[in-house]
Amino acid sequence: MYISGFHIEGFGIYRGQGLHGLPPGLILFVGDNESGKTTLMAFIRTVLFGFRRKGSGNDYQPLLGGSHGGRLLLCMQDGRLVTVERLGRQATILTPEEAPRRGEPGELLLGGMDRDTFEHIFAIGLKELQGLEVLTREEVRGRLFSASAGLGPASVPAALKSIDEELAALWAPRAKRRLNTLSDRLRDLARDIKNVEGQAAAYAACRRQKEKLEARARREFEELENLRRRLRRLEQLEQAREPWAMLLTAQQKVQELEEVKDFPPHGLEQLEHLTEDLEQLDLSLREREAEAARLAERLEQIPVDEVLLAQREHIEAAYGEREKIAAALAELPLLRRRLNQAQEEFQGRLQDLGPDWDTARLSRVDTSVAVRQQVQEFGRRLILMERRLEQLQIQERFLEEETETAQRQLEEARRRLDQTPLPVPADPEELRQRKEILSLLRTLRHRLELWTAQLQERRLRQDDARLRLTFLRQQLETGYTPLPWWLGILVATAGFVASAFLSFYTSPLAGNMAVLLAIFLGAAAFLWHRHQLRQARARLAPVADEMQQVKDRIHTLQGEIAELESRLLSAEEEFSDRARQVADPPPEGLEDLERLAADLDQAAQELQNRLALEQEMNRAAAQLAESRERLQQAAEETRQARQELEAWQSKWRAWAVEHGFTPELQPEAFEAVLQTVERAREASAKVEEARLRLGEAESYLAEARSRLRALLEACSRPLPDEAGVEHLDALRRDLKEARENQKTRGDLENRLTAAREHLEHLRALQENKQKALARLLEQAGAPDPDEFRRRAGLHEEYQRWLKNREDSRIALLALAGSPEALARLEQELSQEDALELAREKEALLARAAALSDSVSALNQEVGRLQEQLEHLAREETLGDLLQEQSLLEEQFQEAMQRWAVLVLCRHLVEEARGVYERERQPQVIREADRFLGLMTGDRYRLVASLGDHSIQLEDRTLRRKDQIHWSDGLADQVYLAVRLGLAREFSRHTEPLPVILDDVLVKFDPRRRRGAARVILEFAREQQVLLFTCHPEFAEIVAALQQEDYLQETPVAYFRLSDGTIRPGDPPGIV
């Protein structure tokens, strides 16, 4: 696509300015600062991508008036001509073949290009040129790296990052299963295993030590046993010595006390017991006799009321009714009050029903369910009828209001219709036809303008082509006279003549030399002639070819011009015909069409209003008629309802009179009357009940008082006038006292009888004890108790010595173990010296204690060693450690191999990236590199780094420079080259867009500027460039470069900008 023309209605300092017939090559605008260069670039940006949002920058309001905006004439890659018009916010796209379309050109024409991308790549000022941030834009990144790498945009950096992260994680300090941790743990395990591995040697050493100690312990134990046996014998002798001495003494004493050998068993105790018993019996006899005397005296002092005791059962029976009599006495006044209250309530109920009501009438009233249902039915029907009558009356009033409203609406609609004027045209169909014609006329007018612009452009191109043709003809016709062909013959002939002359006059050799020279010169002249002819043909052949191409182009343009003229003529005729149909006088220009369109819109609006009013009036009339009809129906229904209600009210009054009620009684009050009747009946029943209970209470009290008087009389008590419960209570108290006295007397009599029987028993017992004492004294041969006691002491001493003799024998036998051993023991006791034996024992004890300690220590040591051996035998730590070591080794191997895989993977990616950077730069970079080479004379080449999307410069010695080391001028060259590379890359995939450069060469020195001009001309051969510059010498550089062969075909147009005007500029002189 290229911009073939534009027209500015109003934009900043421009108004009504425009250009047509711009070529597809380089368009150079030269202007001073503030001359409108940036405004013009902003105009193109704005028409293509719209105004920026308010507040986001300069929107170039028209300073000299006119509509804000304008048009761009675009020639698309497929040859279509498109006009993009933006007046205000809306953009309209016009093509000769299609109806005008509204929408954004970026979407509809430029393959979805957005403003930002356009402004950063295609329409750039010095500000947008700076930096390479553009390469980081998503839109760009994909194009830069993905296409030739065969990858997604972020694959390589993401892959490297992922690898590095995992590598770092493998060496993280405290991560489980990571190399550091595993290595540390393995080292610890190896140390632990080494410690445990000495177990077998320790076990053997331990076992040897244990066996040695066990042998020594056995030897010492045997010696200790011998010592203990001797010690036991010494202890036996020592223990036997005392019983042996006691045995000898006892035998001597027994012989001395032989005379008191016989004595009553336990004689002394028997004597003491009998004496003590006799004393106790004397004391008891005296106490019992005194007690019997005291009891007889108390018995005489207690009286008994026999009469009262005889009436005991009657008194207790009467006392059983005491509470009942007391209650009857207390209830009697209460019953009387209740009777009075019941009678008063009954009279009150009768008065509630009416003055003429009495008990007889009360009993006649029918309160059955059937009667109640009849009354409820009357009540329900009457209520329903009353409600229906009320509803009908409300409906009637509402319809009356509705009828009045409809009447008012009808009158209002009529009034508004009368006030509305009749529009022209009054027929909607006619109006629609006029609008269609008007729309067609607008389309035709746009087409006419477009075709006129195209016609002008074709004519300009035809003129250019004719000029070019004239120039070529001149070139073709410009004469070129080569060396004449006959000059060779002439030279040869002259040579032969000279040869003959020289041969004849001088020498044959000179003649021959002259012949050879002549032949040589002749041949040289001929060859030179041939060479000149070939050169002329070579020079003129392209000119002829181009002449033919130019002629073809002129022919094509003539055809197109003729076709456009024909189209214009027919379109103008059609426009005139249609214009006459739509108005008189017929519209001519766009303004007439717009005015006419406004008139038609107004007429359409008026016609629409009138039709709406007519419809409204008709609706109001219909509404009024309907309301009146419904009002009549409602009145009839109200009348019928009222008659029906009155009939049922008469029927109810007749029923009330028939059942004993007044005719004024309403059904809803009937239930209240029945309830009053039932309450009066309940009050009557209460009166009867109270009267009955009072009678019963009075008769019971009379009978109870009679019985009480008879009882008082039988008990010989004074008789009161009116016996009460207090008399009954007194009788009961007296009876209780008489019974207690009777019981006390019985107890005393029993105790007196028992005391007398006990006295007899004690006297018999005393006699028996005295007889037993006499028999005991006789058995011991003692005349009195004192003698008895002396003989008893001697007998006891005899018995004790007998026992000592026996105990000593038993003790000695127990020590010796057998009678034979006892004999040996007695013999040894009689022979050995006790002191010698004690000394021997002391020595033996000391030796035994030492041996015992030693054996105990040895046994403990053996036990400890045994435990140690068992512990070692049970110990399975080594196996556990080895298993853990094996596990960790495997984990370490796994982690190590993963590390190796990651490092190798990273190496492969780096290797591939190196190859890629060296051999497979992205197309964008290759294009940019070519442009940079043109600008710098191949001093640098561009290298794109795949890892971080950066750009580096590589000089001829393959040294690379990062962006930070570039000079300003070099940087701008790189930036420009990258932009042009990107613009070229985009053009491969979407509609090629013109590149607009606004003063981007200001930092370039003259040499670089010339290089940049060469690149721009080169670029413009395939893609249009609009270049704005404040340096007029740049135009001179361009003009000079255009003389070079390969840049001659780049069309260049020159314009000057000055204070909002655009003027064509002449090609400057060649510098």
């Binding site: 993977c905 497979r920 795949l946």
Partner: protein, 425 residues
């Protein structure tokens, strides 16, 4: 054997008591406990077999335990098991090998009566008697030290007495490259000796080198202890008929069995299919393990759509752990010790290798390394550029050539995964 045997004996070797299971990546305490006891339990199973079959004697042909670690527990429990056999009337003949040379018998434990240990100075012989009858003569020699590089067969007698002669030797017959070449000899060396049965040890896989005259047998290890020792492991019950012809029968004694399984994901569409397939595989292993515990290693291979998903998973957490659930505590457990992801992205590598783009460059760079005359050297050189390489250099040097190529292949696959991620998405 149709006729009833004259006598029978049990031949085992390479017990490696109390040595750890190698190559495990993860263990639960319950499973670890079973594995720790597995070597002991396997030897107890051998004793049970000898007692049950009323074997006349038992031969242990070396490598009872790993003397490098001098496990006391192994020595004590070995002695107890021999005592049990001797008390049941089974005589025991023990030779020591490179892993348990006589110099490593440090606990100096006295052997129970009925147990005979071969010395290391010369070939010793013991007669096995049944009443007054001599059933067989057993000739053997132990390793006095770990490394015996001499051929010991010439030390065996050229002439033997008695009806049946057995040679007990721990050594490498035929130079098996997978085992250390200790006491090397050839099969013909053994055949030239007048033995009826050679009870060998040292090679961990059971194999019968010669059926008869003489019968030459490696019983292998009675309990597999690493991923290379898969399948049934046990000992030989040898029945000798009246004619003096030995008939060895292999009897499994292992309590835990190793399995290595490979699953191709090419035909699987989603993760559910994979999990179902793995569950089925696990149950299949349980059946094959026949009531014992099983330890298995899984390798996922093949190219397919699942590769991308699997690469994003935490295999330990999302795949291995679920397959381990409920196994600890079971007698017939099937323990997945680790899962290896050897799958490859569904990329036509041959085509991508030809393409002139980044991936093509990368694949060609990998090929360049792969086809180097000495890939381990050049790959080590790449790794040595990293500073942390010095910490791993010793271990890396122990990797085999095949391991290096596997690492390179995994690196290549990882790079493709990372770079083609967006393309696949």
């Amino acid at each position: 054997m149709t006729e009833s045997p004259w006598f029978s004996f049990v031949h085992c070797a390479d017990l490696h008591l109390d040595s750890p299971f190698e190559g495990l990546h993860a263990l639960e305490p319950d499973i670890a406990q079973v594995l720790r006891r597995a070597t002991f339990q396997a030897f107890d199973n051998i004793i049970d077999l000898a007692v049950k079959e009323k074997a006349a004697f038992l031969i242990v042909a070396g490598d009872v335990y790993d003397s490098a670690h001098r496990s006391l527990s192994a020595q004590l429990r070995f002695r107890e098991s021999l005592r049990r056999a001797a008390e049941a009337g089974v005589q025991c003949f023990v030779a020591h090998g490179n892993h348990d040379p006589l110099s490593g018998w440090e606990a100096e434990l006295a052997l129970p009566e009925g147990v005979h240990r071969f010395g290391g100075d010369r070939v010793e012989q013991f007669a096995v008697r049944q009443g007054d009858e001599i059933l067989a003569r057993v000739y053997g020699i132990s390793y006095p030290t770990r490394e015996i590089k001499d051929n010991l067969v010439p030390r065996f007698p050229r002439k033997v007495d008695g009806p049946f002669a057995i040679g007990v030797l721990h050594g490498n017959v035929g130079g098996d490259p997978n085992h250390d070449n200790y006491a090397p000899c050839s099969l013909s060396d053994l055949v030239s000796c007048p033995m009826d049965y050679w009870a060998l040890g040292h090679i961990h896989n059971a194999r019968i080198l010669r059926e008869e005259a003489p019968c030459v047998v490696y019983p292998g290890t009675p309990q597999g202890r690493n991923v290379r020792e898969t399948g049934a492991r046990g000992c030989f019950l040898v029945r000798v008929d009246a004619g003096g012809r030995p008939v060895p029968e292999f009897v499994p004694t292992d309590t835990v069995r190793w399995f290595v399984e490979t699953l191709d994901i090419s035909a699987l569409d989603n993760l559910n299919d994979l999990l179902e397939e793995l569950a089925r595989l696990k149950e299949d292993i349980r059946t094959r393990a026949a009531g014992r515990g099983a330890v298995w290693r899984l390798s996922l291979t093949g190219r397919g759509r699942l590769h991308t998903l699997l690469r994003k998973l935490d295999l330990e957490r999302d795949l291995t752990q679920p397959l381990r659930e409920g196994e600890a505590g079971q007698t017939a457990f099937v323990w997945l010790e680790s899962t290896f992801l050897r799958t490859r992205p569904p990329v036509d590598l041959a085509r991508r290798r030809q393409m002139q783009d980044f991936i093509g460059d990368l694949l060609r760079a990998a090929d360049h390394l792969r086809h180097d005359p000495d890939p381990p050297r050049v790959l080590q050189e790449v790794l040595s550029r990293r500073p942390e390489h010095r910490l791993l250099a010793v271990r890396l040097a122990q990797l085999a050539s095949g391991d290096w190529l596997t690492l390179l292949e995994e690196a290549e696959s990882l790079a493709l995964d990372l770079l083609l991620e967006e393309e696949e998405d």
